[in-house]
């Protein structure tokens, strides 16, 4: 059942050819609303990556050792989202205790990330594709880095665009989508390098 793709290929593919935002459209709401300032976008990207890695790992363990043995597959959505919510809360407490400077920078984003579709999405993708543990973790890490990359690019461009003159109605979400479309188009150029779907 577990596909025999090298975890590193999965890692690279999830950044480039199957980018969370540019190819899978996941995590768009916060991607759009936080990408107006580069510094905050960068912080959010970091936070999302961290949460993705940890939740991918833990949810894999929960799926393999709790959900399947107890035959609760039909409840997987609820269980995954509860685990994600609990994890984010514990993560916030841990960061506050052991990494207070990081917590000062990223703390405000963490509650926002619980309902970010990219987090649940990564978990669901790894379940559908029957990834093994290492594959799942590297998939989570790559997805996070890909998301981070996309939001950094958009934020950098939007900061510059803030001073440019745009047609009426364009500024804000409209131009953000058009830019994202162009970047997505560029990334299609990478397809074929890695095949994981």
């Amino acid at each position: 059942m577990t596909p025999s793709i090298s975890p590193w290929i999965i890692f690279l593919a999830s950044i480039i050819t199957s980018n969370m935002i540019l190819a899978n459209f996941l995590g768009m709401c916060s991607y759009l609303s936080v990408s107006t300032e580069y510094k905050t976008a960068n912080g959010l990207g970091m936070a999302v990556t961290m949460v993705l890695v940890i939740t991918s790992a833990i949810n894999w363990l929960v799926y393999t050792y709790v959900i399947i043995p107890l035959d609760l597959v039909y409840l997987q959505y609820i269980i995954f989202i509860m685990v994600i919510a609990a994890l984010v809360q514990i993560l916030e407490m841990g960061m506050d205790r052991f990494l207070p400077d990081l917590h000062a920078k990223l703390g405000i984003f963490l509650p926002l990330i619980t309902v970010n579709c990219a987090i649940l999405g990564a978990t669901l993708f790894q379940v559908i594709r029957h990834y093994g543990f290492i594959q799942a973790v590297l998939f989570g890490l790559g997805s996070g880095l890909g998301w981070w990359l996309a939001i950094d690019m958009l934020a950098a461009m939007r900061e510059k665009l803030a001073k440019a003159k745009l047609p009426p109605g364009m500024s804000g979400p409209a131009i953000a989508f058009i830019i994202t479309g162009v970047v997505a188009m560029a990334f299609i150029g990478f397809s074929g390098i890695f095949v994981i779907q």
Binding site: N24, F25, A85, L124, G181, M185
Partner: protein, 205 residues
């Protein structure tokens, strides 16, 4: 706060359309719009979940303790999504497979949470259900527009039915993600510009 049903319907379908004006629920709006059939199923499914969640949460609004509000909302929504997922798996298995994880992702769809938080919390059950239902239908409307463009230009078909007799040249990019971004960006552009023009006219009046 009794809002009359017509106002609720109009608001959710046009004035404050969840996707194009509030910019919510984008993730799934882009992912499933490559065919009209998938869009219709997704849209109706989401409308169903939003309507029932809003109804349930509104009925419970006075007994939910404030601290665990978000948790209860998530659980109620998740329950209805599981229900929807099982329905799809049973009666429309191939569509269910095509939609893949996006059905599960309805749980994190900002539209449902948004309506629960902004409307169902303060309004009676029937109004909340109507509000949820039409927010979902407004979303479905947008999805149908996007998928119409994408399917006709990308596959040369409408709802799976060939329209090659029109001799239209297919445009591959339409099937791919960038097209979705461009189309939705243009739609938002159009509506935002229109809203701004209206606002300016009202200011002068």
């Amino acid at each position: 706060m009794a809002e009359n049903p017509r106002a609720i319907i109009k608001r959710n379908l046009f004035g404050e359309n969840q996707v194009l004006r509030q910019i919510l629920g984008i993730c799934s709006a882009l992912a499933v719009t490559n065919t009209m059939r998938n869009s219709l199923v997704m849209g109706i499914g989401l409308s169903f979940v939003t309507a029932l969640s809003s109804l349930t949460l509104s009925a419970m609004r006075n007994i939910i303790p404030h601290r665990i509000r978000m948790l209860v909302q998530t659980l109620v929504i998740a329950a209805y999504v599981i229900f929807l997922d099982l329905l799809l798996k049973a009666y429309l298995p191939d569509i269910s497979k095509q939609l893949g994880p996006y059905v599960g992702l309805i749980i994190t769809n900002c539209i449902i949470m948004g309506r629960a938080e902004a409307y169902a919390q303060q309004n009676p059950p029937v109004a909340a259900m109507l509000d949820g239902l039409f927010a979902g239908l407004g979303y479905t409307l947008v999805l149908m527009i996007i998928s119409l463009i994408r399917e006709v230009m990308g596959f040369g078909s409408v709802f799976g039915m060939d329209i090659n007799f029109l001799k239209l040249q297919t445009w591959t990019i339409m099937i791919m993600p960038p097209a979705a971004f461009f189309i939705i960006g243009s739609l938002i552009w159009g509506l935002t510009a229109r809203a701004q023009r209206k606002a300016r006219k009202e200011e002068r009046a």
